[in-house]
């Protein structure tokens, strides 16, 4: 077989089962592709030795008839996941040299299922950003290109999106706190799923905002997202917020039959100044789902406008607390100290040189909104608004809505550096359609649905009911089949 790196998970699984290829051949094909793709800045730590060892073990397991759907599948792992003995830096200078002595639950589950790790993937520092431009490793680049400009693959899981879209791996892990799986998936023309909060263990994933963070798959198809989620999900005693629920076989839910499914179209997601192309794509998505037998109804999610402001209180507040652990004592980098410097200088200098600008800004905003005198005015108010945002969704679902269709992003991928002089708030607007889902703890999926006039991919988002990823994936599968998105970026790297 040729072009093994271009396979989907399901395609590779079937080929492996029939003996048409081996895990080793798949892994070698991906490793060769990664070697030639330095210009994408996607893989930041390569682990070829681990990958080949895992591939050999996978081949033995397949031969013994003990394979799972993930056995022998070469993956990229976002740098936010702690992987034993392998640098895990969250793309931050402050974690320079950090090699965890433990394995995150998600990567352990994937390895237990027989998956292969090719290396670690670029991201925004501590997952704070929407363009993978805040990384200590430098930018990740979108394989999609329409002129001389280099485009962002989105963020924070930008390295994951770039690697999957460029066929450097079969699939990748991502994490999503405000849109960090779904926005990069849309920018790179791939599928990205954020599960229900609590579906996937957060243990061993570097924490950003613990009440919002959730890991998920970034894949080349909806079927692959279903397969990979089944391997990632499940209760973990080490994460008290992970739900003790049986993990269904999500792939089995993909019938493509959505007759009678009720799709809500939230009027508040039609923004002033939204590009006509996004609006058109959204209309096309509605028509595709209606053709497949679903029924569209208009709904209202009245507090949508306040989701981003609430997020920019809650996420920095939690980040300021989570990132307090980076103190130059237990792991990572410590600043060089001057004679006579005490422990406060050690903290302040270490954190000043270890954290980039955006991380510093969010830690300080978080510190401010939690400080005495402002806690009620900002933090508690934001938590009340969050409760209202969640209630909006509950009321829509109570009306009989099964899933909600929205655009995934307010634009296609933009050029690297184009937002450099913009106000930080302008960058935050990238997450306008995705952040509500994190605040309400719901599952959401971005499905590539078309190209803009320049030829760049655009995605549609489907939002599901809590714990109903199976139904959500099935609706996404119907949308994927109707959209028939098969475009790939032309290789320039």
């Amino acid at each position: 077989m040729s072009d093994l790196n271009k396979l989907t998970i399901s395609g590779a699984r079937d080929a492996l089962a029939k003996g048409e290829t081996t895990a080793q051949a798949l892994t070698e094909a991906c490793l060769a592709e990664i070697e030639g793709a330095g210009a994408l800045g996607a893989f930041v730590h390569k682990t070829p030795e681990i990958a080949l060892d895992q591939a050999k073990a996978a081949d033995a397991r397949i031969k013994a008839g003990e394979a799972t759907a993930m056995t022998g599948i070469p993956l990229g792992i976002k740098d936010l996941f702690c992987t034993r003995g392998v640098p895990s830096q969250a793309a931050s200078r402050i974690l320079e040299g950090f090699k965890p002595e433990y394995e995150s639950t998600v990567t352990q589950k994937l390895f237990d299922a027989g998956a292969v790790m090719l290396g670690k993937l670029n991201m925004d520092e501590f997952a704070m950003g929407s363009s993978t431009e805040t990384s200590v490793y430098g930018n990740a680049v979108n394989p999609w290109k329409v002129d001389e400009r280099q485009l962002t693959p989105g963020g924070s899981s930008g390295g994951s999106a770039s690697a999957v879209a460029a066929d450097l791996c079969l699939a990748a892990t991502g994490t999503d706190t405000g849109g960090s799986i779904r926005q990069p998936a849309a920018f790179a023309g791939i599928t990205g799923l954020k599960p229900t909060y609590g579906r996937v263990s957060r243990w061993g994933i570097v924490a950003f905002a613990s009440s919002l963070d959730q890991a998920g798959p970034m894949t080349k198809s909806v079927r692959d997202a279903a397969i990979m989620l089944s391997a990632m999900a499940g209760h973990d005693p080490k994460d008290s917020t992970s739900r003790d629920l049986a993990v269904p076989d999500f792939e089995a839910a993909l019938t493509g039959d959505i007759k009678g499914t009720v799709i809500g179209i939230p009027r508040e997601y039609r923004l002033d100044g939204m590009p006509a192309e996004i609006e058109k794509l959204w209309d096309e998505g509605k028509a595709m789902l209606a053709d497949a037998g679903a029924r569209m109804i208009d709904i209202s999610l009245p507090h949508t406008k306040y989701a981003l402001p609430a997020y920019y209180v809650i996420a920095p507040a939690e980040a300021s607390s989570n990132l307090a652990r980076y103190d130059g004592v237990r792991f990572g980098r410590r600043a060089r100290l001057a004679a006579g410097d005490g422990i406060t200088e050690m903290y302040e200098k270490t954190r000043a040189e270890g954290f980039g600008d955006e991380v510093q800004r969010r830690v300080m905003v978080g510190t401010y909104v939690l400080s005495a005198g402002f806690y009620d005015a900002y933090y508690n108010r934001a938590r009340k608004v969050r409760a209202l945002i969640k209630r909006d969704f509950e009321e829509a679902f109570d009306q009989g809505v099964d899933a909600i269709l929205t655009p995934a992003t307010p634009s296609a991928a933009f050029g690297l550096g184009e937002m450099a002089d913009a106000d930080p708030v302008a960058m935050y607007l990238n997450d306008v359609f995705t952040v509500t889902v994190n605040l309400a703890g719901l599952p959401g999926i971005s499905v590539p649905a078309g190209l803009d006039v320049e030829g760049l991919p655009l995605g549609l988002q489907l939002i599901g009911k809590p714990w109903e990823e199976g139904d959500l994936l099935n609706t996404a599968y119907a949308l994927e089949r109707a959209a028939g998105f098969v475009s790939k970026p032309e290789k320039w790297w």
């Binding site: 005490g342 302040e348 401010y368």
Partner: protein
């Protein structure tokens, strides 16, 4: 609410991040812009609304209060920038 230089200095210190004096005015301006954005929340009527505590309400699991982990000091110290004689080492804290 706009943030003055003095408040920016205080927040930076609370966050234990050294900010050079000449950076403070720009930082105060950035904070002010972000807070202006956040203050849209004041438009929302939140009377009688309970602040969200848990996004997926559930009873936390309980387990026996026993030691389940530990006994690997070397692993705990392996990533420390400065570890000596089985301890983390830091600059002198007490004179």
């Amino acid at each position: 609410m706009s943030i003055d230089i003095e408040t920016a200095r205080k927040v930076a210190h609370l966050a234990r991040i050294r900010v050079e004096e000449d950076r403070l005015p720009a930082l105060a301006q950035e904070f002010s812009n972000i807070l202006a954005f956040i203050e849209q929340l004041n438009e929302v009527n939140v009377d009688d609304i309970e602040p969200m505590v848990s996004v997926t309400p559930m009873r936390l699991k309980r387990r026996a209060d026993v030691v389940t982990d530990g006994g690997y000091q070397d692993k705990i110290l392996s990533n420390a920038p400065d570890a000596r004689e089985g301890f983390f080492a830091v600059p002198k804290v007490v004179e």
